[in-house]
């Protein structure tokens, strides 16, 4: 996180806000609700309390405008800059302006979720500057998140509490969701949730994040899973790229989601049984598609299944015990994928490189091998 510095923060905990006008994209009550919830994001973790006023000058004046709207920082039409806000001070300080050439929504990702944009701008109104943590609310680039399940990330909590301290009214007996931390690709103890290829790229999944690595780029890029697939689950169990249907499949608990490119495939999520897995399987640990045999391997506990996607049948003789085939694998498989003819099976913080045909183990590498630490 970063702050504006120069002690640019409010010298009081009771702040007023006023909604000066409305966007035609949403009903008034949706705008009111979004703004109120966005302020509560910060009130929940600090002593700050917000009171709405309906006339006169509030600490935080909120308005929708387009292009040149009177503050020497003109907006730029659809997309690009969505909104901006000013650091705490008298006058325009603390005010938040939203670009009404955007399409704002209450909850859907058919436009920009006003709650998410407003929560970010109110971070500026309270004294935070931008964070370079890709998972932070104060990261400058918009990312869709479900407003109903949004929890202020740890980086932002640390930032705002560095200015105002924690919420003194918090009831310790009331459990609250833990602020999510952004995983570090180079953390040698990190255990990945899933790994897959996707049209020549490699995707590494961890918590609500993924890293995307492709040949032309030396630095894997981290972003939120929901940035790619807003309806996708997070903290997934497994993922694989189906060459048969040109889809990516994501697994979590008893369900499987499918996407073609960025688009969700209608009819998903489906139960695991739709992929031939027996009904007693409650989750899978990893999945990989073997391009040579054109079979999909599902790893479940200490066994694995082999599924023929084209015929939609589970191969005879399966499940087999994993260590029957891969004797070096003594712990649970956590992820698996194939790349340039080699099969990589993750177990804990290690990655085992196999030739699947000969079952020969070539190397044991660290999880971060492909993450170019």
């Amino acid at each position: 996180y970063s702050t504006f510095g120069n002690n640019l923060k409010w010298q009081k905990n009771s702040l007023t806000y006023r909604i000066e006008n409305y966007t035609p994209d949403m009903t008034k009550s949706e705008v009111d609700d979004s703004i109120e919830k966005a302020l509560q994001v910060w009130a929940k973790v600090t002593p700050l309390r917000f009171t709405r006023i309906y006339r006169g000058i509030a600490d935080i004046m909120i308005s929708f405008g387009t292009r040149d709207h009177g503050d020497y920082y003109p907006f730029d039409g659809p997309d690009g800059t969505l909104a901006h806000a000013f650091a705490p001070s008298s006058g325009i300080g603390g005010d938040a302006h939203f670009d009404d050439d955007e399409t704002f929504t209450h909850r859907s990702n058919a436009g920009y979720v006003l709650f998410m944009v407003a929560a970010h701008e109110f971070g500026h109104s309270l004294g935070l500057s931008h964070s370079d943590d890709a998972g932070a609310l104060m990261y400058p680039v918009y990312s869709y998140r479900n407003p109903d399940t949004f929890v202020l990330p740890r980086d932002d909590v640390n930032g705002i509490q560095s200015l105002y301290g924690p919420n003194p009214d918090k009831d310790p007996s009331v459990p609250e969701p833990k602020p999510p931390k952004t995983p570090d690709a180079c953390d040698s103890t990190m255990v990945l949730d899933a790994v897959t290829t996707l049209r020549g790229e490699m995707l590494f999944f961890k918590d609500s994040f993924l890293w995307r690595s492709y040949p032309q780029s030396n630095t894997p890029q981290q972003s939120l899973i929901t940035n790619f697939w807003p309806s996708a689950p997070v903290n997934i169990d497994a993922a694989y790229e189906s060459r048969v249907s040109d889809r990516i499949l994501l697994f979590k608990d008893r369900k499987v989601w499918a996407f073609t490119g960025y688009n969700p495939v209608p009819g998903y999520p489906k139960p695991l049984t739709s992929l031939g897995l027996p009904s007693h399987v409650r989750k899978i640990d990893a999945a990989l598609y073997d391009t040579r045999s054109r079979k999909t391997l599902f790893f479940v506990g200490n066994s694995y299944f082999s599924y023929d996607e084209a015929r939609r049948t589970m191969d005879r003789g399966f499940p087999k015990r994993i260590n029957q085939t891969f004797s070096e694998l003594t712990n649970k498989v956590t992820a698996a994928f194939q790349y340039r003819g080699f099969t990589y099976i993750y177990s804990g913080p290690y990655m085992y490189e196999y030739n699947l045909k000969t079952r020969r183990l070539y190397r044991v590498l660290r999880n971060s091998y492909f993450l170019r630490c």
């Binding site: 970063s2 504006f4 510095g5 120069n6 640019l8 920082y73 907006f75 997309d79 690009g80 800059t81 969505l82 909104a83 901006h84 806000a85 650091a87 670009d99 955007e102 920009y112 944009v117 970010h120 701008e121 500026h124 500057s129 931008h130 370079d132 890709a134 400058p140 680039v141 918009y142 032309q216 780029s217 030396n218 630095t219 890029q221 981290q222």
Partner: protein, 80 residues
């Protein structure tokens, strides 16, 4: 996108982006003749901030990041 495919339009977009969010100022004076250009320095600064590969040059990742919808407050510290 190899560098050669960066269009003039991209260049202009990038320059305006860096002026708006990373305090790129107009180029003038001897530094232009020697060493890294202010533009390249700012591209590096932007690449570092967004966790991109730091090349100082406009490439596909960098252009893609610049074109993402975002907040209008600058990324470099501009408190005043």
């Amino acid at each position: 996108m190899p560098i050669s495919q960066v269009t003039e339009q991209d260049e202009n977009f990038a320059e305006s982006y860096l002026k708006k969010f990373f305090n790129l100022t107009e180029e003038s004076g001897p530094t232009v003749r020697r060493g890294i250009s202010p533009m390249s320095k700012k591209v590096s600064e932007m690449q570092r901030f967004f966790g991109l590969q730091i090349t100082g040059m406009l490439d596909a990742d960098t252009m893609a990041m610049m074109k993402k919808p975002r907040c209008g407050v600058p990324d470099a510290q501009t408190a005043h």
